[in-house]
């Protein structure tokens, strides 16, 4: 089943003197349950493509359809709401709220969704278990290692039960052990719960785990490879 369908997607940034085409006429379909890595050199358009898929940036032309929703038809208010209910985000710098505990960082997003308190409490514990941090529910981000913080960020992205999770360079700040640990968790979630992950990465370890690798160069897809697992 198609989760994301991208048609003729182009993003042009107008600088003071030059125009930069960050994404150039991209067509792409992401199916449910994919574990996809978007790779490419710096400036190839990976982050721009992910930002547009995540509804954080608007395309110059082309369209993005998530499920049955064409993102171009949504106004900014609807787009915020759409992100809240349909897309999970994992950032390179974890971006947890420092004054909230690990548990609160996760439950916060479900509260914004308006889910019942009892359900939020149960799901928070359940997700923390899934990312191996059941005993760190009450810990603040500054009491966690980088790897643990990124696992909380993954848990937060999962909490809203999104259609897919976008992870922008999720392992860039992690050591080898933490990276492997995080990738194992995400792979396990992908396999067991059929959660769709889309990464942008430079990290070969992520590429090695990915089952589909899309290579971008100068905003164009130059290679789209499915691994046989």
């Amino acid at each position: 089943m198609k989760v994301i369908e991208i048609k003729n997607l182009t993003k042009i940034y107008n600088g003071s003197s030059v125009q930069v085409t960050a994404v150039d006429n991209v067509d792409l379909v992401i199916e449910e349950g994919e574990f996809t890595a978007i790779v490419g050199p710096s400036g190839s358009g990976k982050t721009t493509l992910l930002n547009m898929i995540g509804g954080l940036d608007s395309p110059t032309s082309g369209e993005i359809v998530v499920g049955n929703t064409n993102l171009a038809t949504l106004n900014s208010k609807q787009l915020v709401d759409f992100r809240l209910h349909n897309i999970g985000f994992v950032f390179q710098a974890y971006n947890l709220i420092p004054v909230l505990t690990a548990g609160e960082n996760i439950s916060f997003i479900m509260e914004m969704q308006g889910k019942p308190k009892k359900m939020i409490a149960e799901r928070t514990i359940e997700i923390l278990k899934e990312v191996g941090l059941a005993d760190r529910e009450k810990s603040r981000p500054n009491q966690l290692s980088g790897g643990q913080q990124q696992r909380v960020a993954v848990a937060r992205a999962l909490a809203s039960k999104p259609k897919f999770i976008i992870a922008d360079e999720p392992t860039a700040n992690l050591d080898t052990k933490s990276t492997e640990n995080l990738l194992d968790i995400m792979e396990e979630l992908n396999r067991r719960e059929n959660i769709t992950f889309i990464f942008s990465t430079h990290d070969q370890r992520v590429v090695n785990k990915a089952r589909r690798i899309i290579v971008l160069e100068d905003g164009k897809i130059v290679k789209d490879e499915q691994k046989n697992v």
Binding site: D57, V80, N95, I97, S107, I109, E111, M112
Partner: protein
């Protein structure tokens, strides 16, 4: 969780929040204290206006107001008295004779109003009997014939008041808090008699330093004050027949209120001692002072009485003491204007702090907006943070302000160094601040409004962030 998050956010930068909270605390303490001081002052003025000077209601002959002539007594007095007796709103009333007189002692003279009273009635209406200067006689509790109670000011004008640092006075000062070194400095002027306050002050200036006079001058002056009680004062006034009459009265007591003008103008005498001399034989009076129940509106009562007795001049305390009335009526507005100014000034600091907080959290706000926090929630979060920040300072400020008022309401605040000016206008130089719960509710509402208004600029700043750019901020 927005509430909890907002609350936790204000403690991120403890030092910065502490500075803002301290500023709000100090501002609110200042506001509460100023309001308490004003309320205490105004309430004391209103209390003095009603229970010392003019009563709730004054009833007089209409013509008496135009020309305070002895002949303008209250018409239909029996009917008026019967009405007052039967009116359930009336607590007490006192009939008074009022004679414009010239008082003369062997050393001085002054013009004043000789107020003839019925002692028991007057005590129910006026509290002048409670304003007697300590050790300076009584309010007609005497066996002396033809007694008169005059004010401290009148005593000075008639030169029956003097100052002397006798051995006895120096002994009493030694028992007080005044240091012995100061008392020993008084030796050169001990035993000398000063006939005016000005001369006594001059004497003190020769032996004490300015700071010693400021600190102990009042106590020394008060201990050294001596009144020649039982002095004979001759009062000259016009009788009912238009002829000059004289009555010699003996000073039985000295009073002192907070209104210098009132003191200067009024001397009290028993009506029976003065009425026959003035030519009154049928219980005539010039004035009736009326005290009403607390919850009765004096203006309504005035209008009712006017309706019933068209020949009378009836005035409420608001008419007779417009300064007190106006201050009392507009007091609440003054409070909130003062508090409003303080909070307005503080708002700039609050806005600045919140803008800094937004700047520091740009990346986090970008993340929150990216994951789905809508503008309404962002605005609410910033607004709550600002309100919490302001409220913490305000609550601490209100508690501290309350305690400051609690303490000063017992000790009082002495403005006697500048008190003459106040007392000349009827305002006490000794102020006992007080505050009502209602004011704190008002302050809380003002603080919340300040918080909401102060949050608008920071919240707009936060809402103007674009998630995609904000997330990239380092």
């Amino acid at each position: 969780m927005i509430w909890s998050l907002s609350w936790k956010n204000i403690w991120r930068n403890k030092k910065r929040s502490f500075i803002v909270i301290s500023a709000v605390t100090l501002g609110v303490v200042a506001g509460v204290f100023t309001a308490g001081l004003m309320k205490g002052w105004v309430d004391q003025r209103v209390e003095a206006a009603i229970y010392t000077e003019v009563s709730h209601i004054k009833i007089r002959n209409q013509d008496y107001l135009l020309n305070e002539e002895i002949k303008y007594t209250i018409p239909d007095q029996e009917k008026v008295v019967a009405e007052l007796k039967n009116n359930p709103d009336v607590v007490a009333f006192s009939n008074r004779l009022k004679l414009t007189a010239m008082a003369a002692s062997s050393r001085g003279n002054t013009a004043l109003m000789l107020v003839g009273i019925d002692l028991n009635d007057e005590k129910k209406v006026s509290n002048v009997f409670e304003k007697m200067v300590p050790n300076a006689g009584t309010f007609f509790e005497t066996d002396m014939g033809n007694p008169v109670v005059i004010s401290d000011r009148t005593a000075e004008a008639l030169r029956i008041k003097s100052y002397e640092l006798s051995a006895e006075v120096l002994d009493s000062l030694a028992q007080s808090d005044i240091p012995k070194s100061v008392i020993s400095k008084l030796e050169p002027i001990a035993g000398k008699k000063f006939i005016t306050e000005k001369l006594f002050k001059k004497g003190l200036n020769t032996v004490l330093s300015k700071s010693e006079i400021n600190k102990y001058g009042g106590a020394i002056r008060s201990a050294a004050t001596h009144y020649r009680l039982r002095s004979k004062i001759v009062f000259t006034f016009t009788g009912t027949d238009g002829e000059m009459r004289y009555q010699t009265l003996k000073v039985c007591g000295i009073y002192k209120t907070t209104n210098a003008m009132f003191d200067q103008m009024n001397a009290f005498v028993l009506k029976n001692d003065i009425a026959p001399v003035a030519g009154f034989t049928s219980g005539e009076n010039h004035e009736i002072g009326v005290i009403l129940k607390e919850d009765v509106n004096a203006r309504h009562f005035r209008d009712e009485m006017k309706g019933k007795f068209s020949g009378l001049n009836v005035m409420s305390w608001q008419d007779l003491a417009p300064d007190a009335s106006m201050s009392s009526e507009y007091m609440n507005i003054y409070y909130y204007i003062i508090m409003g100014f303080i909070l307005f000034a503080l708002a700039f600091g609050i806005i600045n702090t919140m803008l800094m907080a937004i700047l520091e959290r740009t990346k986090e706000l970008g993340m929150l907006m990216a994951i789905g926090m809508n503008k309404k929630r962002v605005f609410r979060m910033i607004m709550l943070e600002t309100i919490f920040l302001t409220m913490v300072g305000a609550i601490v400020g209100m508690i501290l302000g309350y305690f400051v008022i609690l303490i000063t309401s017992h000790t009082g605040l002495d403005f006697s160094s500048v008190g003459e000016g106040f007392e000349a206008m009827g305002w006490s130089a000794m102020v006992y601040p007080e505050i009502e719960l209602q004011f704190f509710i008002g302050v809380t509402i003002l603080v919340i409004i300040t918080g909401i208004l102060s949050s608008i600029i920071p919240a707009r700043k936060a809402l103007s962030l674009k998630p995609i750019e904000a997330i990239r901020t380092e």
